[in-house]
């Protein structure tokens, strides 16, 4: 059975070129970059080169890029370090209800340390309302952290406008760009971004590597204390193969962005259109225009997500859902609830995220398979039974 992988927002396949670029740094050039001898210099050069690539992709300076162990660390670092460094100025942070848990749970932790956090609502498409953001700013606000694009519903936030508001009020702006980096062009200066989190494994790079962009001049404190790596800001022997692989992945993502995302957009739109027209009682979640090129998120009413995922899996299709049963709690996804979906509809959500390898045949097979699965699950659903009886 062919595997159809449509969960690229969860993680991606490390591309062959990335793996090839990394391999020499395991067995050949394994020297520690912090050493004096020439052998360690090879590692240092490789890190510099990767840093230049990442910085170039964002319109940033190389010394503004700090490698981390991934997106979650970058998010934790941005929030905790800013809170600490700017606590003399104030104790208020603004974020949204639809952030990744790496932001939300860090904010909850900061609240326990005495910080105040405003969690902005979003509209029915998952977009932040700019006037609410501006109204939420207080004299004590030290940071606005709003994601670039949402990982579940794919909505791209009005980052330029958010950056302008932050700048106007003299508040730092951090964005979690883990899903957007490599999918949409980002320029930190044009968008007034002060800090930005990125991750390697979402763009066909390796897992366990990420970065935090920190604009020059922003006060920063360390999260990981120890050695003098990363300009004394992030201790720990550099993950050289990871950094090299990340650099290569970013290089490829930038090179292929236009063509790849155009292709993904067209497949995405085909998928959405077919699901909407061929499966009744289907709702598309997220903004239809300001949307990640590879994200499809729909709710099929009267059925539950986990059952759907198991049945898709039996056909070789990897997907994800925001149902309670996949979140490990009794509540469905906080993002779907924040866009105003009732619980029972949120439980029937399905996210399909395309990749560079996704084909039209795969997309069509998934639609055909889903039609059968949704039919089958609805035939067993008491909610559907009640609905049909009411219609009569």
């Amino acid at each position: 059975m062919e595997r159809i992988y449509l969960d690229n927002a969860a993680t991606t396949k490390t591309s062959e070129e990335v793996v090839q670029a990394m391999l020499p740094y395991f067995t050949e050039y394994y020297g520690n970059a912090s050493t004096v001898y020439a052998f360690g210099e090879k590692s240092k050069e490789a890190i510099t080169q990767a840093r230049d690539i990442v910085a170039g992709a964002l319109g940033a300076k190389s010394e503004e890029i700090y490698f981390t162990a991934g997106g979650s660390e970058s998010d934790n670092w941005a929030l905790k370090a800013t809170a600490e460094a700017y606590k003399q100025k104030g104790n208020h942070i603004i974020t949204t209800k639809i952030e990744h848990h790496a932001i939300l749970h860090t904010c909850e932790w900061l609240e326990r340390q005495g910080f105040e956090v405003t969690y902005l609502d979003v509209d029915e498409n998952g977009t932040v309302r700019l006037e609410e953001l501006e109204q939420a700013i207080r004299p004590t606000t030290i940071l606005i952290s709003i994601m670039f694009a949402n990982n579940e519903i794919g909505t791209i936030e009005p980052v330029a406008e958010i950056g302008a508001i932050a700048r106007k009020h003299g508040v730092l702006f951090h964005t979690d760009a883990v899903q957007a980096f490599g999918q949409v062009p980002i320029n930190v200066d044009e968008l007034n971004i002060d800090m930005l989190s990125g991750s390697g494994h979402k763009l066909n790079g390796p897992k366990g590597i990420g970065f935090l962009y920190i604009r020059k001049g922003v006060k920063i404190r360390s999260l990981i204390h120890g050695g003098a790596q990363e300009r004394k800001r992030r201790a720990g022997t550099e993950n050289v193969p990871g950094i090299v692989g990340f650099g290569k992945a970013v290089e490829l993502a930038v090179q292929t962005m236009e063509e790849r995302t155009a292709r993904e957009r067209s497949l995405r739109d085909r998928l959405i259109e077919r699901l909407e027209t061929e499966i009744p009682y289907t709702k598309v979640n997220g903004d239809r225009i300001n949307r990640l090129p590879n994200n499809v998120n729909v709710c099929f009413r009267f059925i539950e997500g986990e059952s759907m995922l198991i049945m898709l899996d039996m056909k070789g299709i990897c997907a994800s859902s925001g149902s309670a049963c996949t979140s490990g709690s009794l509540d469905p996804s906080h993002v779907l609830l924040a866009i105003g979906l009732p619980h029972e509809i949120a439980h029937g959500s399905l996210r399909l995220t395309l990749g560079a390898d996704t084909t039209q045949e795969q997309v069509d097979f998934v639609v055909d398979t889903l039609k059968e699965i949704v039919d089958h699950l609805r035939s067993m659903s008491p909610l559907y039974e009640d609905f049909v009886k009411k219609q009569k």
């Binding site: 997500g305 198991i310 049963c325 009794l330």
Partner: protein, 145 residues
Amino acid sequence: MYSEKVMDHFQNPRNVGEIENASGVGTVGNAKCGDIMRIYLDIDDDGIIRDCKFKTFGCGAAVATSSMATELVMGKSVQEALQVTNKAVMEALDGLPPVKVHCSLLAEEGIHAALWDYAEKKGIKIEGLEKPKNDISEGLEEEDY
């Protein structure tokens, strides 16, 4: 994640459907938490369950426990059916992951709710049967992360 038995009952659920003019129908669960189970019972004059069907909105475990519960009560007397506990359903399925134990409670409650409906329709009292909770999620604490 699931045992072979659970997967079998999920893939090939037994006794899916409705019974017209059923002796008793019970609906339990809560769409908010993502599980709703409806059990139909056809009970003859001797108090024997002649047919049992279900419809379930829920995860793989919810479907499998409904399916297994209908199998376990089929052909049993009302009193025997009352003894089919969530533990019995779980054991018959070779166990459930800890986060899914509440699904087996749903199955037990579903049977009880259908029996309660039957008793009310018949105007009888079933020894040992208490009015089932409509919402099985009551009292379940959300895990703290």
